[in-house]
Chain length 320, copies 2
């Protein structure tokens, strides 16, 4: 019996509060990619929606909760995708949304946050600096702070992906999940371990941002002094203890992959699946590339979690 | 009252015979693209499936019919997408599929037809040459000839896209449909004119392959001596009379677009929607680019009908 912060009945109920545009996303075998990787590969595509990432599932829940509480504003730190999604969900409900991001975040993410009508505040430094600034804005303005992975709604939103995978009745044996703060990994992992316990849930994080993976292996919070990865969406340094506790129960493994494999993964997704993805979305393919024997002959699902990428950088990476 | 070859009850029933992987595809507003085009743009994405085009909807029906009739083989001419889709649907049902294509078809389409286990025969010349060869193979081998747009199942399959659009209850007022042989245009058009008659159905064809559009305007079959377009998926020269008759009833307009607009459309779909598409799938955006005043302020749906494109050519087009 899993004793996480997550609850299956709540996750099932959560689907009602999520705009259908984020739900029931495509799940399909990509034969061309599978042949190159030596296994069967199914893609769960989370990019064909107005914010081009899975984060809308969670922000729909957050925004529903906040408006139900009579709140009129919210603030979050974001590497870019949460901010867009909260901007989208907040805008539709009349919530004033402030997003704190780093100056180094992809321009395309920042531009879209602004376009959605959210207030954007930029900070120097990395994602943890943005988190600190969001905390202080919330305090100063007495505004609700939305914390990715800590706020259970962000995990429950991501968990609806797990429901769709479990309900697909497909024959996959492995799910590869990008690991950052842990909302997606704990959400998807919880549902699969509850409904399809034989499916192996493998979290994948960049070697250049390994805090949560190291924490998972050491079974205690391990922080890092810095991050160094192109996978901006998963580049945190301070794992949240409650999220780690959940992840310890629902993940079968957590692996680290190098930058070259992330780039190769992006290139393969373009060449063999016709998908432009952001680096975080290529972590699953990168994991297979780094350990092909482990995955040989398996049927795996890789969640394509986002496609918000600066095209100039993308071309530079993929065409090298 | 429309008197086409199509029938709403049959189309609704057809959904049961189509693998769900092809159904209920994403339909979502793309704000970034809409801002650039001066209107509201919703994308109906038909590429997130195992054959990367909408053609699987129709071939599922064809293959179900053939196996129900005890057939064991089928042959079709294809610009590439029908062949892949028939290969996929046939393979799952134990049908031997032969595909006739032109040597000039995108290599990626030919390679995937072979990978799906179909027999591939290549001919010199254009799509109409492939059609002739497919007819003679069918006669020689006494094998069922599958004819795109003429076989009602291919139109009914495409028409299930129309059902999904009509059922979405979305507020769009215009649907842009790529026009080639006419299966998609007549199928989608029929359903919309039946269920949502106020929605304008606009067919878009390349100036370099204008036979069906000219036929629609002249209300009689007009053929052309040649085609000259990068939109290989819609490059026919001989419109089928029965399909034209249907199209005359269900299309509100048919417009032609230049190659530069198709390329610009592909580029915009990449830059503002993150989608790699084949030229035929950019026809809708191209139509808006060529006549922005006509579409200003409207809410249009563009059907992204395929993403099977040779990447080398794609990069050449999009990055020029």
């Amino acid at each position: 019996m899993l004793t996480t912060r997550l609850d299956l009945a709540r996750i099932r109920a959560a689907r009602r509060d999520v705009d259908p545009v984020f739900l029931d996303t495509p799940l399909y075998e990509c034969d061309a990619l599978g042949r190159r990787l030596g296994c069967t590969v199914s893609i769960k595509l989370e990019t064909a929606n107005p914010v081009r990432s899975f984060k809308g599932r969670g922000t729909e829940l957050v925004a529903t909760l906040l408006t139900g509480q009579g709140r009129t504003a919210a603030v979050c730190a974001s590497a870019g995708n949460l901010g867009q999604a909260l901007g989208w969900s907040g805008h539709r409900r009349g919530l004033d949304v402030t997003v704190v991001a780093t100056r180094g975040a992809p321009a395309v993410k920042l531009e879209r946050i602004r376009a959605l009508g959210a207030e954007l505040e930029l900070v120097d430094g990395d994602f943890e600096m943005a988190r600190e600034r969001a905390v202080s804005i919330a305090r100063q303005r007495d505004v609700r702070l939305v914390e990715d992975s800590l706020d259970i709604e962000t995990c429950e939103g991501a968990a609806t992906i797990g429901l769709e995978l479990a309900d697909a009745g497909s024959s996959f044996d492995t799910v590869l999940v990008a690991l950052g703060g842990g909302a997606m990994a704990t959400g998807v992992g919880y549902v699969l371990k509850t409904l399809s316990p034989a499916v192996e849930v493998i979290c994948v994080q960049p070697l250049g941002a390994p805090a949560m993976t190291r924490s998972w292996h050491e079974r205690r919070v391990v922080t890092t002094a810095s991050t160094d990865t192109i996978a901006d969406g998963v580049a945190g340094r301070y794992p949240i203890p409650a999220v780690l506790d959940d992840l310890l129960q629902v993940a079968d493994d957590a692996v680290l992959v190098g930058e070259a494999s992330i780039v190769a993964g992006m290139r393969m997704l373009l060449e063999h699946a016709g998908l432009v993805v952001e680096p975080s979305a290529a972590l699953g393919v990168a994991a297979v590339l780094e350990d092909p024997d482990r995955f040989a002959g398996r049927h795996l699902v890789t969640i394509i979690c986002g496609s918000n990428v600066d095209l100039a950088a993308y071309h530079r990476w993929v065409r090298t």
